[in-house]
């Protein structure tokens, strides 16, 4: 970039003219996290008793997705310093300089406001309030407070990722119920073994960034014990939709089988040697945890659709 009719030649960075592509802004929304949020919110909405107009259901899912994306953008704004030093996150738009932190902040705030207001106006205000609380919880409670101060960061912060099916449920019913709390718990209890499995083999990254993840603070042994503890709880809660009667025996058998595999993978992590450099069991648990959660919600979703269409 240059000043015409002037000798001064200025670097693009001096003027601050953005060179970001639309896809950089899309990356701020953490699309992969967003896809899981959309999926679990949709499952919550379909399983919930009652009717919702299909177009309003589409609007609700869009708002929840944008709201989740907004919290992702706010997270990237605040955590740019950490993202810069971690291999997993160093290519994000802010660390690479494609988007400025204040641009990400404005983008996140505008999307958060739009998604909450639209959900409130077009669907219902209780769901809008839940979405606002979820964004606040992720951006402020987790990102700004817990993440850098306690190894329990992802245990408590996991609530932010667990709210979407509850919001989906609230879009239909306008309330919270025991069933939606179970859907919440399924994700809430799954989060620690999922993230700690990753933290075990990314321990160096978190150490470098100064993030107090469980393996860095409490050590490998304690983390592996806690992974097993939460895996058992996750497997137990995973079967509750059948026990409470809002899922079929097919789901009951499926969730029990998947729960057993989940616990078995966590057991292999528990038995893993501290000197193991490859940490194959931890990688395997991390990969399986994604399959576990997605498949349980997929079965709930299919069963819910079958009930709605009278199959």
């Amino acid at each position: 970039m240059t000043y015409s009719e002037d000798m001064a030649t200025l670097d693009a960075a001096d003027i601050g003219f953005s060179e970001a592509e639309p896809r950089d802004y899309f990356a701020l929304l953490k699309p992969r996290v967003m896809s899981l949020v959309v999926f679990t919110a949709l499952a919550g909405m379909i399983v919930a008793p009652g009717a919702i107009h299909p177009f309003l259901a589409f609007v609700a899912i869009l708002c929840i997705a944008i709201g989740a994306g907004a919290s992702g953008a706010l997270n990237m704004w605040y955590d740019a310093d950490i993202d810069r030093v971690m291999s997993r996150t160093s290519s994000r738009p802010i660390p690479t300089g494609r988007i400025k932190p204040q641009e990400a902040l404005s983008f996140g705030l505008v999307l958060a406001a739009f998604s909450v207001l639209t959900l409130g106006l077009l669907v219902n205000w209780f769901a809008g309030f839940l979405l606002a609380f979820t964004i606040f919880f992720y951006a402020v409670i987790y990102t700004m407070w817990l993440k850098r101060s306690t190894p329990q960061n992802i245990v408590i912060g996991g609530a932010a990722g667990a709210f979407p099916p509850m919001i989906g449920w609230a879009c239909v019913t306008g309330s919270v119920s025991l069933e939606s709390i179970v859907l919440f718990l399924m994700i809430f209890l799954w989060t620690p073994p999922h993230f700690w499995a990753l933290a075990l083999y990314k321990v160096g990254d978190y150490e470098k960034a100064g993030v107090p993840m469980m393996p860095n603070v409490a050590g490998m042994k304690s983390t592996k014990r806690q992974i097993l503890f939460y895996a058992v709880l996750t497997a137990g809660v995973g079967a509750l939709p059948y026990v409470l009667g809002f899922a079929s025996p097919v789901y009951g058998v499926f969730s029990a089988g998947m729960g057993l595999v989940f616990v078995q993978r966590a057991w292999r992590v528990f038995r893993m040697q501290d000197t193991d450099a490859v940490m194959a069991p931890a990688k395997s648990l991390f990969g399986f945890s994604l399959v576990y959660l997605a498949s349980l919600f997929a079965v709930l979703l299919v069963e819910g659709l079958a009930v709605r269409f009278g199959l």
């Binding site: 693009a12 003027i15 003219f17 060179e19 970001a20 802004y25 107009h53 309003l56």
Partner: protein, 49 residues
């Protein structure tokens, strides 16, 4: 008065960003238009003159 001259690359990305914003705004218009009809329902025109 000084004028800022953008490079071709900067013009190109600015155009792409403008198109993305335009599409998002158009989507919002359609969204609120359809949602208004859905919320009012078929009784929208059923009122005494």
């Amino acid at each position: 008065m000084d004028q800022v001259k953008l490079t071709e690359g900067q013009k190109k990305v600015r155009r792409r960003r403008s198109v993305a914003i335009a599409l998002a705004l158009a989507l919002l218009v359609v969204l609120f238009y359809v949602a208004t009809i859905v919320k009012f329902g078929p009784g929208m025109f059923d009122r005494p003159l």
